[in-house]
Subunit: 588 residues, 2 copies
């Protein structure tokens, strides 16, 4: 397609400038002008929101001639410059090069750092991205904005008005990259919107967001003090504080932030196994036959995943019966432990769910991915009473405490078990002859090697809110769920999934359209009711006004599971949700 | 300490304004002025770097009266306002409230979104954070900036000039939060600095950074299409592209992004076990006795961690001998497989290291966390020839390809194994009766439940660079390692750890100070040489000029492991490193 050192006699563009500077010099001339123009827009934007949307539709953007930097291999042979076709008309130069074997088309792509003179374009580009992001943040909190603009997978895959997900060999201009950023947000879901109730993790905390931006910029790794000194210490201090709040004496023990509650729960099973059967580490599960685990039938499925992954087998995870409200029945645990022993099995681990995923209940306590946040509230922490007797606790600040994803901690009461369980003493990372106290190199406790910095946003939020700030947030969410509960418990068309006030912010209920309300109880009614929540949810997503989860559970047909962890939510948003359910579901 | 509805007769501050507005109204009056001042500084900053450092030392900052929002529980009873003591002198209002049981001191903390009128302070705060971050980015690429400002753990724990890591009950002002952000970066390590060579993951890609900022802002979760439609599709398309590059027909197969190479490697063992012994999922490791795994004695320690965690036991991980350059000896694998069978063991899994962590070698290929990036280079991909015969491949774009942490993929050749292995069909997340094609709900393939969005930054970089951009980067890094190798192989005072040109960018060498060079080979020389690298590294970190790793390996005493993945590095940085090693090590 392209000749070597082409003799194309009709180039529409030629350039003899040194290629290193070609792309940049052309732009540099009017850089100051562009910066002023950008500043003007930003300033205007802060004071006047009227034309927010229009800015990125402008075609005179400055980024069409700019490209992310690609590095030049040293064997590049410089040839002639020419534009190839219309698609590349904005490129300031294109270079035909030759290496040992093949001819390649290369762009002059030396615009961003670490390119020479890349500082100004880099700053401009980042500020333009920030402009897109801050606009998104503003709109997220604006109730007149939709929660989502739903499209089916095939629609997005086919490409939406210039938003093409396919990857290609050739680079895109920074202008297109900015369009891609905007479109990625446009077709996504605003999980921070005051009317997004779909997940346990909702909300967009501004301090947490700033913390995550900083974390991305620092771009380091938690495995050693050497390359993450501040973050490693923040993790240590924060884990200690969390252990104090759990109630372990002097906050003693150990812990680590892990990539989510499922992995934290996996850690809890691993540490328990190591504590009682340390030989499993070296000899495998044959060193400890017939171990069994216990968990609530309502517990999170990650315990089941851990049983499969760690070699116990899901059949050796024994499910405990619960009462109507999802609380484990202690007598059932006792009976099942006795029964397992009689069958020659060895009970090793009891997972107690503090805040079950669907109902949000409390009983015995050790896994509090969802419920753990209640410990921060003097008013509600009694619901986790006894948690200090657990050997390990999973606690996800990214759920009830509103920390951006991901932020999950596994806390272990006994020091040494976590590192005993996982350490392999890799010489290339954890050298004993470093100049600092290497007990701060915590990476060998993890099943991961590289580990993302999840601590900073949480630490920063704690600094900014104080313990009392988290308490306020949690108390408010529980107040809101109380408001919803009292609103709908006796309201026509609603039926609660279980009796009594929820202990957490989970409110589980059926909405019964008028056409179902008077039907006699029976299979037909059940079948119709089962389809109501999915249908309302689909209509909700298509209209984009709000989002709430639904699911069946055991013999119960699909019901709504409302959860409140979003600090932006108010009573009016709760009212909006029920109005919307009634509006969309009335004629079903 | 504080009375209920206190009658304190000498308040130094009183206010009767409605508490909702109190904090804000005071500031709002001069908001426009402050915005202009901010714009002026930003603009100046873009054009003039001279006073970058001084700006945040100013004491007249606008944020001292601003606080992150704490939510008010609805039971708050409003009382009198007063400042309590000197520490709170900047607070615009303090409120004594009473709930059922206790008296609490509460701040007026209604400044950021979702607070009413929180938009402008939020934008100001975020722009101020961005200013800190863009300054950091600029300095990271500036060779006159240090790589790190080293402090010992006890120094940072004791507190550095107003940087206090401890968490407290009360909130800090946003001014202090900004100081905390600046200090967190100040005492950290610049992993993107052109002279940071300490880890396999180095560099700070601007597009990747922008992608990560956007990811944080979107703050969603990969488990369902429902709440991450765009990201789920990006992951699917990118994984397919990676499988095509590996060489699997039509890019068929499966895969998922995981929190790092260690977890990806764990997935590879789990999928292999499920493929050959699916009963292990339900019955545990007793369903498949005496399984053994094989890996290079130079392989990453995560394979050992996986053996322990998954219930195989580290003793059932058989280490394969390597040649002088770290390549597995195929005859050794064959002999050990035969031997294991003779002992009644069942060989299940062979881990082939594509790019060993220390030496960076290639042989048989399946785990290419580090080496995988070479597949992007037409010049170097032959070094991974045969990779398409592997059943699974670990490939970490966050290493050789320069994607910000974390970004690791496990790719599996056979469709269905990954979900078969891990799926548990949790009803509350993966409802079959959704309105869209639920095959896009990929969360049940994972051992995680919530999963961080690691794809976007990678997808955006691929868009911005094109495949050829990654190729350039990789070729350039290998050129640089070739430059280092040819520079030092015959240079006085250097000794290579193995003969011949490295296959990846890892260059392993000893530096011999003059006092050691003429010593006869023997224990004394070895003992002294063993201490050289740690000593130079310590001096390097204290002077903060550059960073490179060292370690012992087998019977080899501590040597330097130089790795190059940083797009900002040039030959002059390589020269700087060797000069620095010689300067710091000359008199040892």
């Amino acid at each position: 397609m392209f000749g070597i050192g082409s003799d194309d006699s009709n180039p529409s563009f030629e350039c003899s400038a040194p290629c290193n500077n070609l792309g940049f010099l052309q732009k540099n001339n009017n850089l100051e002008e562009k910066i002023s123009s950008f500043k003007e827009r930003s300033s205007k934007d802060l004071l006047d929101n009227s034309d927010r949307d229009s800015r990125f539709r402008r075609t005179e953007t400055d980024f069409s001639n700019l490209f992310a930097r690609g590095n030049w291999p040293s064997y590049v042979h410089y040839g002639k410059y020419r534009p190839i076709n219309q698609n590349y008309k904005h490129c300031v130069g294109i270079l035909i090069i030759k290496n040992e074997n093949i001819d390649m088309l290369q762009f002059l792509t030396l615009d961003l750092l670490p390119a020479k003179n890349g500082e100004e374009p880099t700053m401009q580009f980042l500020l333009e991205v920030v402009d897109i992001l801050t606009n998104y943040v503003r709109k997220t909190f604006d109730r007149s904005t939709k929660v989502l603009d739903f499209h089916h997978p095939h629609q997005l895959l086919e490409g939406m008005e210039g938003f093409n997900l396919e990857l290609s060999d050739q680079p895109e201009s920074l202008e297109q990259i900015l369009v891609d950023c905007r479109d990625t947000l446009k077709y996504g879901v605003r999980t921070g919107h005051p009317r997004f109730f779909n997940q346990l993790s909702t909300g967009l905390d501004i301090i947490g967001l700033a913390g995550e931006w900083l974390t991305s910029t620092a771009n380091t790794n938690m495995f050693t003090y050497e390359i993450a000194p501040v973050f490693v210490l923040m993790e240590q201090l924060t884990l200690k504080k969390m252990r104090e709040i759990i109630g372990w004496p002097d906050g003693e023990g150990d812990g680590i932030f892990s990539p989510g509650g499922a992995i934290s729960n996996m850690y809890s099973v691993m540490t328990a196994r190591y504590k009682f059967f340390p030989d499993v580490k070296t000899k495998g599960m044959t060193a400890a036959h017939r171990l069994v685990l216990f968990t609530s039938e309502h517990s999170h499925y990650s315990i089941k995943k851990a049983s499969a992954a760690l070699g116990f087998g899901t059949e050796n995870l024994i499910l405990l019966s619960t009462d109507e409200r999802g609380r484990v029945i202690p007598a059932d645990l006792e009976a099942k432990v006795i029964d397992a022993k009689a069958r020659g099995c060895v009970p090793m681990f009891v997972n107690a769910t503090a805040g079950s995923t669907v109902y949000g209940k409390y009983n015995i306590h050790s896994q509090g991915a969802w419920g753990g946040g209640l410990l921060m509230s003097r008013k509600h922490r009694h619901k986790l009473s006894g948690v200090e007797r657990a050997n390990s606790v999973t606690w996800n600040p990214h759920k009830m405490m509103g920390v951006p994803l991901q932020c999950s901690a596994i806390l272990v009461r006994e020091r040494g078990v976590l590192s005993g369980c996982n350490s392999m003493c890799a010489g290339y990372l954890f050298q004993p002859d470093k100049q600092y106290d290497v007990s701060y190199d915590t990476g060998d406790k993890a099943i991961q090697c590289g580990r993302h910095v999840d601590i900073f946003k949480f630490w920063l939020m704690w600094k900014a809110k104080g313990t009392i700030g988290f308490e306020h947030h949690i108390d408010k969410c529980l107040d809101l769920s109380h408001y919803l509960y009292t609103k709908i418990r006796d309201r026509e068309g609603y039926q609660m999934v279980f009796e009594g006030e929820p202990q957490h912010t989970n409110v589980c209920f059926w909405y019964l359209p008028p056409g179902i309300r008077d039907m006699p109880d029976g299979q037909e009614r059940r079948d119709r009711l089962h389809k109501v929540a999915p249908k309302i949810k689909a209509l909700m997503m298509e209209s984009g006004t709000t989002m709430v989860g639904y699911q069946p559970q055991g013999d119960k047909v699909n019901f709504f599971r409302m959860v409140i962890s979003n600090p932006a939510a108010t009573r009016s948003d709760i009212d909006f949700l029920t109005d919307e359910i009634e509006r969309l579901g009335h004629d079903l």
